[in-house]
Every structure is written in structure tokens, then in C-alpha cells.
Symmetry: C2
């Protein structure tokens, strides 16, 4: 395996942005450790998140910088940020304002479990899929 020792052991922030200028952001709930969502950050989103303590991302579909919760009010206060060994992923522990991170109205975007069915094929089931808010009422 080829690894970059400097990237791994340095105490400088030198994010390895991909071809689209993005790193992966994994967002967990500081209250219980659950993964709330996976998003992306460009250089500006990362900088604004560090500066303000609110989570900013870059929307690949809308091609725009985006403060989480700017339309829904479900903002995220950053409790801790960490970067990974090769500096292409960021782990953000947040206080999720309004109790729901997912645009579908759920607490977490990960509301479906994958298991192996009796026939050996993948089986999907809702877990923790209750809606905290009504998306139709929140996103006008």
C-alpha cells in the first residue's frame, strides 16, 4: 500500500479534496453517537464550519454552499471535528437542533436496515423511521 506519512502524522490541516473539490463529511449526533447523515464539504464549507461553529456543506445536486438547516431551521452546532488519516474525510459530532437531520423528516438519514433474508438475498426494513417533522410543511 502507498501511504503519505506526512498527511497522516502532520498537525496541519491539508485536506485532500477530490476532483470536484470535496471531502466527505460524516455527521454523528453528539447525544448518542448515531450517524445522522453523510454530506460533502468544499474548502469554503470547511472554513465556515470551523469559523462559525455551525455546519456548512456543499450540495452536489444544487452546486451551492449550504448552511445546514437554512431552510428547515434544523441547524447543527458543532461539538467536535476530526479529520481522518489521509485527510479526505471529516467526522463532525453535532448537536442537532430540532431533533432531525434528514430532509425526509427523520432524525437520521439512516432509517433503513439491511439484513440477509432467509433466501440469502438482501432484505431492507425500516428502523427508527418515525418522522419528527412533516417535510411538506417545512420545505415550501
Amino acid at each position: 500500500m502507498s501511504h503519505d506519512h506526512a498527511l497522516e502524522e502532520d498537525l496541519t490541516l491539508t485536506p485532500k479534496f477530490d476532483a470536484n473539490g470535496l471531502v466527505t463529511a460524516v455527521v454523528t449526533d453528539v447525544a448518542n453517537g448515531d450517524v445522522l447523515m453523510v454530506a460533502h464539504m468544499n474548502d469554503e464549507a470547511l472554513r465556515k464550519t470551523i469559523e462559525t461553529g455551525d455546519a456548512w456543506y456543499y450540495s452536489r445536486s444544487r452546486k451551492a454552499l449550504w448552511r445546514k438547516g437554512e431552510s428547515s431551521g434544523k441547524t447543527q452546532r458543532v461539538a467536535e471535528m476530526r479529520m481522518d488519516c489521509d485527510q479526505d474525510a471529516i467526522w463532525i459530532r453535532v448537536e442537532q437542533i430540532g431533533g432531525a437531520a434528514c430532509h425526509t423528516g427523520r432524525r437520521s438519514c439512516f432509517y433503513r436496515a439491511i439484513t440477509k433474508g432467509d433466501d440469502g438475498a438482501a432484505k431492507v426494513a425500516f428502523v427508527d423511521a418515525e418522522k419528527v417533522f412533516d417535510p411538506a410543511a417545512v420545505y415550501k
Copy 2:
């Protein structure tokens, strides 16, 4: 925002692989909820993980399917798998065999915290960065 209601509400596994045929895998430690690593899965890695209960990934640098721990012995037993709303990310809760997921020898790949320094710029510090194993002894 444009969202795909079927993708979000269906109980079928229809992963939205990216241009390289990959989805993002976020791996957390079932023992304490910490994020251990971020990796990628192609269709075969996902299928083998569901079938075997061991974590398989696709290495972008080596362009190869890879059973986590196949060279280090630090395999991952899957406790739970979940998919996200738009089916381009998978959350995997694992029992980390050997107590370390990172190739640098640490428990987690996220062993550096990012904070805002007194001068307003980003500051990086080691956290939970103790090495559980010596990479030089494990990867020959």
C-alpha cells in the same frame, strides 16, 4: 430540492453507485459509537458483506476488492448495516477485531481534532492517537 421519493421510501436495496461504481461506507464501532473509518463499496463488496457478515470494501488506490483485515488480521464483524435516504451511503456498525481499524495502527482513522485557534485559523491536535499495533510489524 429534487428528491426521489421511491429511493427514499422503498424497502428495496437499489444502491445509487457513483460514476466509479461506488457508495460511501461509514464504519462505526458498535462498542462505543465512534467512527472508525470511511471506505467505499462497489456492488460486489456490498453483496459479499451482506452474505458473509464480514466487511468487504473496494480500494480506490489499489483498484481491488478487499476484505478488511485480510493482511493485518484486523477484520470487522458486521453488527448492523443501514442505508441512507438517497441510497448512496451505507452505515456499518462493526465489532472491530484486534481493536484497531486504521492502517497507521490506531483504533480509529479519526485521531486528529480540528479546532479554531486563538488567531481564528484552524488548529489540529492529536486525540486518541495511541498506536494499538505497529504497522511496520503488521504489514510486511
